[in-house]
Subunit: 118 residues, 2 copies
DNA sequence: CCAATTTGCTTGCATCTTGCAAGTAAAAAC
DNA sequence: GTTTTTACTTGCAAGATGCAAGCAAATTGG
């Protein structure tokens, strides 16, 4: 469920609205990690970009609030895990398109997000 | 020609590098306008999101610096115009994917970027 | 079972980025 | 040739980000 718009939206343009949610330097990287199977807080912090923990906490909360990811606690454990929802998985084409562009146009980039399988 | 990385890149991940260039709330909206055929400074400011002029100038400069857009002056005119380069046009799949996601998942959004034609 | 380590955060603060409102000189329109 | 528009720049307040600590609960190791 997308809660009522937290950030007042700038327009009804779907691109603008998407950017209200995803348009910053970190959110899509957290998404990328989720796609790769990272599911624990400490996992995200180990990615090479080195996200600060306060930013990470904030981004995870926002992703959950927007229904893109969810928190869950595995049987018999206490530490929470994170996973994508369907809404989050639907962002795969976006991530692939962006990554493909980077790979093609930015020298020195290397593919990591698996081409077809995870 | 991509000039030597202006912003020190956070990693060699193509997604991260793309986000170093495009990952903010305005850049992709300027791109959207360019795709729609907006080619003048004042045109961008009339989009419903209402970009501030200092941000616009900054973003246009960055897009040009990264070879995504270019400035040109039409015959007999003095005021500059802007257009996408091939590198910029290659971002179309990304814009479409993001817009499609917004359209599908964010209530109250309306399509504008033409489905096939411009 | 108990000590040591890891995890999942929060807090504080300096710095960078945004947003808003004016201001301006050159260009274009009338 | 006077009015309007255009394409910016500047200044400043407010918000976001980055970094380093700090901390209690959870997990690991012996």
């Amino acid at each position: 469920m997308p809660s009522p718009p937290t950030t007042p939206r700038r327009s009804c343009c779907p691109l603008a609205c998407s950017l209200d949610i995803l348009g910053d330097r970190w959110t899509l990287l957290v998404l990328r990690d989720l796609f790769r199977g990272v599911d624990r807080y400490s996992g995200f912090t180990r990615s090479p970009e080195g996200i600060a923990t306060n930013i990470l906490a904030q981004r995870l909360d926002a992703l959950i609030e927007h229904g893109i990811a969810e928190r869950f606690v595995p049987e018999g454990k206490k530490h929470p895990r994170y996973r994508l929802t369907q809404r989050g998985r639907d962002l795969e084409p976006t991530l692939r398109a962006l990554a493909a562009w980077g790979l093609q146009h930015i020298p020195g980039t290397e593919a990591r997000l698996a081409p077809k399988d995870g």
